[in-house]
């Protein structure tokens, strides 16, 4: 999410939209008004840089989750599409450079990876997924069921780019927890400390990484299978962080190199952990 490009009214609108109750009211009351600006909230937004998915061929391909509607809309589209496709492509290049992974990076106009809805059967072929701005996510029952199956069968998801905005969580956390309760009823977000293996799966990472300046202090949460920390980690949540944005601007000097490096380390570790555990 490129903060500099936002307009004030859009921040307010999106901020209100992520509060679940308010969102529902808004959808009910002013649906036509939203459609006039952004299109149908029950449809998927198509990023201009999206040129289709590459066919599955077994190699690791970055899978970004999309959701319906236009919550957290900016000039990059709804929250799920923020930083696409540059962040995805940059991370894949880094993975190829520093690890033995040989992921999909680019083929023609298709850069970085694929985009899937949660109820897309094709998603099941990609056991690791990236989910940007879950604060604006409001899945229907089919998506909830699809996501539940994905996670329980062996999928792993990285939630990123959600949390406080200038010291105030406008509902990102609440919405994420609420929707995840629909996906995995009773699931608990367990705060992870620096000793967790995911922070040592490739690089040894401390958790003193500074997050986005507009977010609060980063915190990392995990969701375990059956809420048992000894079992499989189904999801990691980068609360108050936006590592995707570091990846996106890593070739522009927009963020300090040290922070960008830390963001890449987190990305590399997440993927390596998910691939090997």
């Amino acid at each position: 999410m490129k903060y500099a490009a936002r307009t004030r009214w859009m921040v307010l609108l999106v901020g209100v939209a992520v509060v679940p109750g308010a969102r529902v009211d808004l959808q009910a009351q002013d649906r036509r008004s939203m459609m006039r600006y952004f299109g149908d909230p029950n449809e998927y937004y198509t990023p201009p840089a999206f040129h289709g998915n590459v066919k599955y061929d077994g190699r690791f391909t970055f899978a970004r989750i999309k959701y319906r509607g236009f919550a957290h809309f900016t000039d990059e589209g709804p929250g799920w599409s923020h930083d696409y496709p540059r962040s995805d492509g940059h991370l894949m290049k880094i993975m190829r450079e520093v690890t033995a992974l040989r992921p999909f990076v680019q083929r023609g106009d298709i850069v970085g990876g694929n985009i899937f809805a949660l109820d897309d059967p094709e998603l099941m072929k990609y056991p690791i997924a990236y989910f940007s701005e879950p604060g604006g996510w409001s899945p229907n029952d089919k998506e909830v069921a699809g996501f539940r199956n994905y996670l329980l069968k062996g999928g792993f998801v990285i939630f990123d780019d959600f949390g406080e905005m200038r010291g105030f969580d406008q509902g990102d956390w609440l919405n994420t927890v609420t929707q995840m309760q629909r996906v995995l009823p009773g699931c608990q977000m367990v705060r992870l400390d620096a000793s967790h293996p995911i922070f040592h799966s490739f690089y040894d990472i401390g958790l003193d990484v500074i997050g986005r300046t507009y977010r609060g202090i980063p915190a990392y949460y995990g969701i375990y299978e059956n809420n048992d920390p000894k079992r499989r980690l189904l999801a990691i949540l980068n609360y108050n962080n936006d590592i995707g944005e570091y990846w996106e601007f890593s070739d522009e000097g927009f963020d300090p190199i040290a922070l960008t490096n830390e963001a890449y380390k987190l990305g590399v570790n997440y993927l390596m952990y998910a691939l090997t555990h």
């Binding site: 599955y56 690791f60 690890t99 992974l101 059967p121 072929k125 539940r148 329980l152 691939l275």
Partner: protein, 799 residues
């Protein structure tokens, strides 16, 4: 020859066919008869010439016919005048011995001999009636001519005072041993022959060839008397059960149950498997056609450790003639240990995570994983300690051979040195380990394995150069179970064979990036893969019309097992949208596959018995193998088998090196108690190996023990072996008789047995002249010829 035919023959020709077979033909006429005949010819020839010159009313044809009839009649008379006879060597009464061997096994209790309206007689009753009763004609006839020695036999042969001393309680039938025993015991006396009363249901483990050869060389004829029916009317039997001798706890094994029936063709009956009285599997089976021996596969899950005696039962059917052969036992040793498998993965990929997860909660599998994460960087998972694999892939045979299985993932051949590749091949061929080769961008031909020392171990034909990064081939593959796969325990992914087969049909397609050029001769494809109608086949190195490749294939390579699974994403079987969340297929497949990988992997010291189920006092052969840490077979060890009887008493049995096989040691023991015998082989720690003291110090086999193996010993009353394949085996008894110069009888024609033995030309004999001129046949011929001449004349008006 049928009885009535033989009787007719004896009536016409005065003697039975056997007499003609044994006797030598000769003429016994004195010289004066020849002179007389010459004189007769001098007188007769002019008479015949005169006779021929007479024309009268007769035609030339009439004269020929009448002349021929008269001539044949005269020749027949001349033949009689020459006094034809048979010269026959017959045993001198009471100077020769005969050994009578009576089958004393339990199969003689089978009541399958018709006795008119009464209930069927047992085979034993028939034998008693023939040779044991005071009114027995055979017994009397034998006693009149010979000195008779009786033996009873089952697992061994034993001399008895009379034929009354049989009990029919023996637990096995060893015809060859019995005949050889009797021959040896009667070797020093003039022996006219041996008589065997048996159903021929031999269940000795050795063929009869040697014994028969020995008898033939010594010209000892064996006369066999087949007791019982060659075909039962109604019977269901479990002939044999073939199952793995050992299994890892939690494994499912496939037991092949060989079933045969008569009279119940096409019926469905339940087959139940019990473990110590507890039903652990049940399957309804369709009985095969009459007399056909058909295997029925039963899946048995083994969750309790230790020696498990599995009992396979088919319920008794209405009217069965033999009730004891519906049960068979198999002993399976269920080991509760952790099989250590090394998994080497060359690139981070989800497949590895899914496989590890599938076996993570399996307490019997330890998947030690060496994961390459970056250039010269590895991560280790599930290692025992910090030193294990600290230097990467093992560099010595000792280090590598500690594992019982190896899984090679998508890892380039170039990651290994040539020595390491040779070690991997030796791991399979020499150590006897299991090697599983997974598909991936850096596996098989695409991983550069063509032409390496490991290539011969692979069950598939590969080719091409190593491909560093790019994708050179891709095919969507739909798995299809082959007939061999349906029968294999490795592919059982559901509770029963049918369910498993059905599940394979619905498994989602996977992908392969390894172009497989073919299957090695001798390899077996368990699961084949075809490209579905809407599937892709891209960038094949050579044109392919309808590409197929194995999904799962294996071959035995040397002492070990090499399995190919050239698929890069079996995880789709779990992840696919069509697969229910709680579907256990993927987990079951991998656990079964890795159990199979390590199922037959030998330890450095191992011991096995020739049979898993035996009877009390049945000799049991033991075989041990001894190898050092590099799995080089050791011939200089001193090996002892520790036997623990069911009562807890122990006994040490020295094992001798079998000169014909490296590292193999053998011994035999005879169990005296019913129950499970435990056998452990140990290399004697106190005995120093031959050679230098340095070698002795380095000898790591000393004091090592094998895993325990077990032998189930059944009491005589428990054993069903005697009732299996228990129809009277006439072919075997006929063969024994034929090859030794004896004769085969049934109770119906056994009356001639004493006389046949007397004519066997064995022992102390005297030559008898047996006249043939007075055969009724000659008289009938003469009368017939004269009558025919008369009738012809009458018909032609020549009288």
């Amino acid at each position: 020859m049928a009885n009535w035919l033989e009787s007719l023959f004896a009536f016409l020709f005065k003697y039975r066919p056997a007499v003609f077979e044994k006797g030598d033909f000769a003429f016994g006429s004195p010289t004066s008869v020849i002179v007389l005949l010459l004189a007769g010819a001098l007188v007769g020839v002019p008479a015949i010439l005169t006779y021929a010159a007479v024309r009268g009313k007769s035609t030339r044809r009439d004269r020929w016919i009448l002349g021929s009839l008269r001539a044949v009649a005269i020749l027949l008379l001349v033949f009689c005048l020459f006094r034809p006879m048979l010269l026959l060597s017959a045993a001198v009464p009471q100077r020769n011995y005969v050994g009578v061997l009576i089958d004393d096994s339990r199969s003689m209790q089978i009541a399958d001999v018709d006795a008119g309206d009464a209930r069927p007689q047992t085979r034993g009753d028939v034998v008693r009636h023939l040779v044991a009763g005071p009114d027995s004609a055979i017994r009397k006839a034998l006693a009149d001519r010979f000195l008779v020695r009786y033996f009873r036999f089952s697992s061994g042969a034993q001399r008895i005072a009379s034929a009354d001393d049989v009990t029919f309680t023996g637990t096995s039938t060893r015809l060859g041993d019995a005949i050889e025993h009797a021959r040896q015991e009667l070797e020093a006396v003039p022996l006219s022959g041996l008589v065997v009363f048996s159903d021929g249901a031999d269940n000795g483990r050795t063929p009869l060839g040697d014994e028969l050869l020995s008898l033939r060389a010594r010209s000892v004829p064996v006369f066999t008397v087949g007791i019982g029916r060659e075909r039962f009317d109604k019977d269901v039997e479990i002939r044999r059960v073939e199952a793995a001798r050992t299994a890892l706890k939690g494994s499912a094994i496939v037991a092949d149950v060989l079933v045969r029936q008569r009279g119940y063709g096409g019926q469905k009956v339940p087959l139940v498997v019990e473990d110590e009285g507890r039903v652990i599997a049940s399957e309804e089976i369709a009985l095969p056609g009459d007399g056909d021996l058909a295997p029925v596969r039963v899946h048995v899950a083994l969750n309790d450790p230790g020696p498990r005696t599995l009992t396979f039962k088919i319920a008794l059917q209405q009217g069965e003639q033999v009730t004891q052969n519906n049960v068979q036992q198999a002993l399976v040793v269920v080991r509760d240990r952790r099989e250590k498998i090394l998994y080497v993965e060359g690139e981070p990929r989800s497949e590895m995570g899914f496989i590890r997860r599938a076996v993570a909660s399996d307490s019997n599998l330890q998947l030690v994983t060496l994961q390459r994460t970056a250039e010269n960087t590895f991560q280790r998972f599930d290692v025992d300690n910090g030193e294990e694999l600290a230097g990467g892939f093992p560099k010595t045979r000792e280090e590598l051979f500690r594992y019982r299985g190896i899984v090679l993932g998508s890892v380039d051949a170039s990651m290994f040195t040539r020595d390491q590749l040779q070690m991997l091949a030796d791991f399979v061929g020499v150590r006897g380990g299991g090697l599983l080769l997974l598909g991936g961008r850096h596996a098989f031909g695409e991983g550069g394995y063509a032409g390496t020392p490991l290539a011969p171990a692979m069950p598939v034909v590969i080719g091409g150069e190593a491909v560093p990064d790019s994708l050179t081939f891709l095919a969507d593959i739909k798995p299809e179970l082959t007939p061999a796969g349906a029968a294999s325990a490795a592919t059982q992914i559901a509770g029963t064979e049918q369910k498993s087969s059905d599940r394979w049909k619905t498994l989602p397609a996977v992908t392969s990036v390894n172009f497989i050029r073919g299957i090695k001769p001798g390899a077996v494809v368990l699961v084949n893969g075809v490209v579905p109608t809407d599937g892709r086949t891209e960038s094949a190195p050579v044109p392919v019309r309808r590409y197929e490749q194995p999904v799962l294939a294996y071959q035995r390579f040397g002492k070990g097992l090499a399995i190919a699974l050239p698929i890069q994403d079996t995880r789709l079987w779990q992840m696919d949208a069509s697969t229910p969340v709680d579907d256990p297929t993927f987990v079951t497949f991998w656990r079964q596959l890795l159990r199979w990988l390590t199922s037959d992997v030998p330890n450095r010291i191992s011991v096995a018995s020739a049979s898993d189920v035996a009877g009390v006092r049945d000799p049991i052969a033991l075989t041990a193998e001894v190898a050092d840490s590099a799995f080089v077979m050791r011939n200089d060890a001193r090996v002892v088998a520790h036997l623990t009887a069911p009562s807890g008493t122990t006994r040490d049995l020295p094992m001798e090196w079998a000169v014909d096989r490296d590292g193999e040691y053998r011994a035999t023991f005879t169990p005296e108690e019913a129950g499970n015998y435990e056998v452990v082989a140990e290399v004697d720690a106190t005995a120093a190996p031959a050679g230098s003291s340095a070698r002795a110090a380095a000898d790591t086999t000393r004091g090592r023990r094998s895993d325990a193996t077990y032998v189930r010993v059944n009491a005589a009353t428990e054993s069903s072996r005697e009732f299996v394949d228990a129809e009277m085996r006439a072919s075997l008894l006929q063969r024994i008789a034929r090859e030794t110069g004896g004769r085969f009888y049934t109770p119906a024609n056994v009356a001639s047995l004493p006389e046949d033995i007397a004519l066997s030309k064995r022992g102390v004999t005297v030559v008898n002249q047996m006249d043939l001129w007075d055969m009724p046949f000659i008289f009938l011929m003469l009368v017939g010829l004269v009558c025919a001449e008369w009738a012809y004349r009458k018909k032609r008006g020549l009288v």
